[in-house]
Symmetry: C2
Subunit: 338 residues, 2 copies
Amino acid sequence: MRILLDVMGADREPAEIVRGAVLARAEYRDVEITLVGDEEKIAAALSDAGADRGDFTVVHEPAFISMEDSPMLAASSKHPSSMAKTLRMLADGEGDAAVSCGNTGALFTGATLICRRIPGVRRAALGMVFPYEKPILMLDCGANVTVTSEYLVQFATLGTCYMKNVFGIEEPTVGLLNNGAEPHKGTPLAVETYQALSARSDIRFIGNVEGKDIPFAPCDVLVCDGFTGNISLKSSEGLARFSMQKLTETVRGGNPIEKLAARILKNKFDKLNRFFDPKEYGGAPFLGLARPVIKAHGNSDANAVKNAIRQAAAYAGTGVIREITEHLAENAASAGQE
Amino acid sequence: MRILLDVMGADREPAEIVRGAVLARAEYRDVEITLVGDEEKIAAALSDAGADRGDFTVVHEPAFISMEDSPMLAASSKHPSSMAKTLRMLADGEGDAAVSCGNTGALFTGATLICRRIPGVRRAALGMVFPYEKPILMLDCGANVTVTSEYLVQFATLGTCYMKNVFGIEEPTVGLLNNGAEPHKGTPLAVETYQALSARSDIRFIGNVEGKDIPFAPCDVLVCDGFTGNISLKSSEGLARFSMQKLTETVRGGNPIEKLAARILKNKFDKLNRFFDPKEYGGAPFLGLARPVIKAHGNSDANAVKNAIRQAAAYAGTGVIREITEHLAENAASAGQE
């Protein structure tokens, strides 16, 4: 499996991303990695990590898209960047999947314009797998702030194919994120989508899912528009960060015995933290594109990059894109026959 | 201050609600409480709580609206209920504020139809005060799934008056819940609302607020449509519950020393839990109505009911409704002059 890794434009130094590649190379022997970015910095990082330079392909492209740049830059032929280079190589078949920790909007726009959508896909979606009670894929998590029920039904199909192939779930269940359980709940779009999903025999729709139930394994795939998805995941993220901070403060304000008790439980607290961290599963897959692209968190450390590479390899190595393509072609054919 | 308390239709027995009234009566001496519900059950609960029956007014109305009933029932003259009785007494001036732990939709519909909106208010909103880093009022939390920018700007005014009067914040800041900080972020409605809020000199608008920042005191009033508000608060609620559950499980799976450490920290963990519990502030105010109505959580215990009564007294005792009324009248007058 050939993974293209954009090492530039993240919050951390390219060296941290390169270290992630070194970890992945050591752990997953069948993964070949191409590092795209500033050659000098890459060489220094590989040397610092004690890695064999010959184990990696390096493509020199020092220009990069910053977190503040316009998303359209990624697809501009006048503006070279490590991200655009990575995506073009993927589109040209010089790799099987791409990973970047850079500007999410730019990666999404660039990937859509350079790698294209699967024929029949109306909108690509940004998925995110949360490591709660059991893995749950939420999509869209922010790429499409306005959607139609047709897009949402397609997101259900994209998510079903992903969880089936990458997580090995035989018949993934699909829920619709809503403000109540009953079919009539929510916006007119939610009501329409509920009906559209219910009518599909190829989607295992279990109904509306409320925000309070997300962590408790309500379904394998949770569909929503990108605005709602962003609000839900960011609200959860904020609360998780706040609660860990308050836990630390509360314990610090304790007496010596309480402080000792907290020190004894430190490993347990760290373990708890991992339940909220999507980096555990390695990044956010773009779904609906003709080529596998994974967005890793902008703040990814080496371990998160390693996990993203593993997920990219799984995305490319399983039949996700083929299955989506066939599924949409069948649907189009049966719609044509009606 | 005369508080009308609907003791029926909640998740718990009327006795638990009555106990809350007894606690409130003991703690807030200037609060008179009318208990509306099944007289026999109320009498038994008062006796069990060792309270003096003469300290309370009791209004007998054993029929009630269940959590599953249609919201419209609360305003139906053919369907007597403790909730409708409470709201009618409030509308007739037989009390200064009302509290119910019953069906939220029914209470909202009933309150709007029976107590009426303040002249000029387009939609009433369900507010919720979260006890995070500092109190933050989010509105709407679920009453209006579809809104316009005009409604959202009014919510900002309603929230400003509430936080100023009830929480004593001199010039409350207002944020717009959105999927990014920049002015162009979000749905077309969010972009339009950002501009409308920016143009108002009487609203201290600080810009967009992302979900991840909600617990960290980004503003005093956070406006959003009721769908988004519900998704945000329920997602946070789910995560808080999940994290406390995982903390318990993680610690239970520990060795004897870890278990002892957890027992030492139990008080700290309980304290942490309170940071996420809106019941600490006593309930959700309905804003924009001509009379003060507080929705307490369906699962309220006696202490939560007591807090809701305190909040209802503060809502009625301060100038919230008068200030909103004057403010809207001034706005209408200046709009007329333009």
